[in-house]
C-alpha cells in the first residue's frame, strides 16, 4: 500500500516541482527524484518507480508533507525553528525528533517529537521539565486564564513578566495548536520575532513613542532633559531588565541614541515602550518635576546600609522571601520594625526630619 504522504507527493509533483529540505522532485512526462545529501539522483521514473523510491526515503516525504501544510509564514518559521530545520538534514532531525527536541521561549519549554511519524508539541514552564503530575491541558484557549495570575495568585499585568505560573502542561498538540497556545501566553511575540528575522521589525524608540501619547499620558512628552537621556536609562533599568520582562528590548532613546543599559537576552524582541512603561513614566514625570533638597538624617552605619538593603529587597522582589526569624537579613520585618520604632517620630518622619522645610 502506498503511504498517503507518498501518494500526495506524486500528485503534487505533477502540478509543480517540489523542493523541501534536500528533497527535489519534478514531473515532465516522467518523474525525477533527487536527494543530493544521500547521493540519489534518478530521472525517467514511472509513477510506480517514483513512489517506490519515495517510500524508501519516507522521512523526506513526510517532512515535505508536513511543511507543505497551509500555514502562516510566521507560524511556519517558528515551528521550523523549534526543530532547527534550517540547520540539520532530515535523517538527523528525524533521529532527534524521535527523542524529542526542545527550545526555550521566554519561560516556556517547548518540545517537538515524532509520534507515529507525526509531529506533536508539548509546552510547559521551563522549571517544570521532568516534573510529573502537572495539570494536563489540550485547548490552547486554556492558556489565557492559566497565565492571568502568578503562583501566589497575584494578577500579572505584563504577560512577558518572568512570573509565569507553574504546574500545567499542554502535552500533545499539533503545530497550529502549539503556536496558538504560545500566542495566548506571550501575545504577538511570534509575529515580532518573525519580522525581526526577516529584517523587517518596526522599532518605535522612546522619543517617537512618547511623542504620540495624548490625554493623561501627554505629560510624558515634556519629560526630556535637554540632550540628556539618563532618565530613560533609569526607566529601562527599572522596567525592562531581564529580571522584569523576558522580551529583549530593542527600542532605544531615539534612532541615533542608544540607551546605556542592557536590552536583555530574550529570544523575542520588544519593539516599543509598552503601556506599563508609559504609565510608570507618567508617574516619574510628575515626581521628577520636584526640586531636590538636602535633608539631614542621623543613622548608624548599619542603619544606613539597612535602608539600602530594604530598597534592594523591594526592588528585587525579595521582600516576601525573607524568613520571619532571619534577623541577620537587614530587610527582615523585625529589623525594619525596630528601625521604624527607633528612628521615626510620631508623624512617620525619618529621624524626625520633616519632608517639607518649615519656612
Amino acid at each position: 500500500m502506498t503511504a498517503p504522504a507518498v501518494a500526495r507527493l506524486s500528485s503534487a509533483v505533477r502540478e509543480e516541482p517540489v523542493a523541501c529540505d534536500g528533497l527535489h522532485a519534478e514531473y515532465d512526462d516522467n518523474y525525477q527524484f533527487s536527494i543530493p545529501d544521500a547521493d540519489i539522483e534518478e530521472s525517467g521514473l514511472s509513477e510506480d518507480e517514483f513512489e517506490t523510491l519515495a517510500a524508501d526515503h519516507e522521512p523526506y516525504v513526510t517532512n515535505w508533507a508536513y511543511w507543505n501544510e497551509d500555514r502562516a509564514d510566521a507560524d511556519d518559521a517558528f515551528l521550523r525553528w523549534l526543530e532547527a530545520a534550517d540547520e540539520t538534514t532530515v535523517p538527523e532531525r528525524y533521529e532527534s525528533l524521535r527523542a524529542g527536541m526542545s527550545r526555550s521561549w521566554g519561560e516556556l519549554r517547548i518540545e517537538v517529537r515524532l509520534d507515529d511519524g507525526a509531529r506533536r508539541y508539548e509546552i510547559r514552564h521551563s522549571d517544570d521539565v521532568g516534573e510529573d503530575g502537572l495539570e494536563p491541558h489540550d485547548e490552547p484557549l486554556d492558556a489565557r486564564s492559566l497565565v492571568t495570575h502568578d503562583d501566589d495568585g497575584r494578577y500579572r499585568p505584563l504577560k512577558t513578566a518572568p512570573s509565569l505560573p507553574h504546574g500545567w502542561v499542554f502535552a500533545d498538540q499539533t503545530g497550529r495548536e502549539c503556536v496558538e497556545t504560545v500566542e495566548y501566553i506571550y501575545p504577538a511575540t511570534v509575529a515580532n520575532w518573525y519580522l525581526e528575522r526577516q529584517g523587517e521589525l518596526d522599532i518605535d524608540h522612546w522619543e517617537p513613542t512618547i511623542g504620540r501619547q495624548s490625554g493623561i499620558y501627554g505629560v510624558v512628552q515634556t519629560w526630556n532633559r535637554g540632550d540628556s537621556h539618563e532618565h530613560v536609562n533609569w526607566v529601562a533599568e527599572a522596567c525592562c531588565d531581564d529580571s522584569q520582562c523576558v522580551k529583549r528590548r530593542e527600542w532605544q532613546y531615539d534612532e541615533e541614541t542608544d540607551l546605556d543599559v542592557p536590552g536583555g537576552d530574550g529570544e523575542f524582541p520588544c519593539r516599543e515602550p509598552c503601556s506599563l512603561v508609559i504609565a510608570a513614566a507618567r508617574k516619574w514625570t510628575r515626581l521628577e518635576g520636584e526640586q531636590e533638597q538636602a535633608y539631614e538624617f542621623t543613622l548608624t552605619p548599619s542603619e544606613k546600609e539597612q535602608v539600602e538593603e530594604i530598597i534592594d529587597a523591594v526592588a528585587d522582589g525579595r521582600a516576601d522571601e525573607i524568613r520571619e526569624a532571619d534577623t541577620s537579613d537587614p530587610a527582615n520585618r523585625y529589623r525594619a520594625r525596630y528601625l521604624r520604632a527607633k528612628r521615626f517620630d510620631e508623624d512617620g518622619n525619618l529621624s524626625g526630619t520633616a519632608t517639607e522645610s518649615s519656612e
Partner: protein
C-alpha cells in the same frame, strides 16, 4: 479570510476588566463565522499596536468594546492601530451614530473595517433590556417596573451621556417599562437619589459600563444606599426608601453583548451567516 478584533480598555490593576471582552470574543469565535477572533487592549496584551500583525486574515473588522464615541474611539484606537487615513468625519456621526469606515493600516497588508463602538449600536438597547431580564429572572419584566440606565456623566466626554440618553429614549418609546430614566454618577439627575425619580415600587438599575470594577461594584452600590460597605455585598433586590432596587451591575457582562459585536461587524460588511440569530438565542438560554 476575515477576522474580528475586539478592542477594549483592559487594566494594569484589575484582572476582571478584560473578562467580558474575552467572554464575548469566545462566544463569537464559537459561531465559527470568522476565521480568526482576536482581542486587543490599551492596557493589556496584545496591545492595539501589535494585534493586526498576529492575524492571517486580509479583511479585519475592528469593533471597540467601549460605551460611547470619544477620545478612545476617535483618537487612541485609530492612532495605535496605525489607521493613518482615519478622520472622524468618515463616521459622519452625531455622537451616537458611527457605523464603520474602511481603511488600510500602515504596518500590515490588510483592509481594516473600523467600526463604531459597541455601546452606541441599536442592539445595545436590547442588551440593557436583557440585563434587566437577567437580574430579575423574569423574561417578561417591564410592567410595574421602572428602569434606570446609569452612566458616568459628561465629565470628560459629552457623547458619554448622549449614548445613555439614546438607549433610555429607545426603551422608553418601546413602552415596556412603566418608567425609564437616565441617571449619572457625576451630574444631575444623580443615581444617588434613584428612588426620587421613580413612582414604581420596583426599579431595575443598569449601569452602562463595559466591565465590573470600582464604579459598578463599589461606588454606585454605596451611592445608591444598597450597602454601607461594598465589601459586605447587598441583596437583589434591596429596598431603599421604600423602593425595591434590582441592581444589575455592568451591562457589558451580559452574554448578549456578543451579538452587538457581531452586528457591528455585519453592518460593516462581514459575512456572519446566521450567527446573529444563533447568539441571540444561545445567550438567552445560557443567561444566569
Amino acid at each position: 479570510m476575515q477576522a474580528l478584533v475586539v478592542v477594549a480598555h483592559g487594566s494594569h490593576l484589575n484582572p476582571d476588566s478584560s473578562t467580558p471582552t474575552y467572554r464575548h470574543a469566545d462566544t463569537v469565535r464559537e459561531t465559527g463565522v470568522f476565521d480568526e477572533v482576536a482581542t486587543a487592549f490599551w492596557k493589556e496584551e496584545p496591545s492595539f499596536r501589535e494585534v493586526l500583525r498576529t492575524l492571517n486574515s486580509e479583511e479585519v473588522y475592528v469593533v471597540p468594546l467601549f460605551i460611547s464615541e470619544g477620545y478612545f474611539t476617535e483618537q487612541v484606537i485609530p492612532r495605535e492601530l496605525r489607521l493613518a487615513e482615519f478622520d472622524v468625519d468618515q463616521w459622519d456621526s452625531d455622537g451616537t451614530s458611527a457605523s464603520s469606515t474602511t481603511l488600510r493600516a500602515t504596518d500590515v497588508d490588510k483592509t481594516v473595517h473600523y467600526c463604531g463602538p459597541a455601546g452606541t449600536h441599536d442592539a445595545m438597547t436590547d442588551v440593557i433590556v436583557r440585563r434587566a431580564e437577567s437580574v430579575t429572572g423574569d423574561d417578561e419584566v417591564g410592567e410595574g417596573f421602572g428602569l434606570a440606565v446609569v452612566g458616568h456623566g459628561t465629565e470628560r466626554n459629552e457623547n458619554s451621556a448622549k449614548a445613555i440618553r439614546y438607549h433610555a429614549d429607545r426603551i422608553r418609546e418601546s413602552g415596556r417599562f412603566d418608567e425609564v430614566h437616565d441617571l449619572y454618577m457625576d451630574e444631575e439627575p444623580e443615581v444617588d437619589d434613584v428612588s426620587d425619580h421613580f413612582d414604581t415600587d420596583d426599579v431595575v438599575v443598569v449601569p452602562l459600563f463595559i466591565a465590573d470594577g470600582y464604579h459598578t461594584q463599589e461606588d454606585i452600590p454605596e451611592d445608591m444606599g444598597l450597602t454601607d460597605d461594598y465589601r459586605t455585598g447587598w441583596d437583589t433586590p434591596t429596598e431603599v426608601d421604600g423602593v425595591n432596587i434590582w441592581y444589575a451591575g455592568a451591562v457589558g457582562t451580559e452574554p448578549l453583548m456578543a451579538d452587538v459585536l457581531l452586528e457591528r461587524a455585519r453592518d460593516a460588511g462581514a459575512a456572519v451567516g446566521t450567527a446573529v440569530e444563533e447568539v441571540r438565542e444561545q445567550t438567552r438560554a445560557g443567561a444566569d
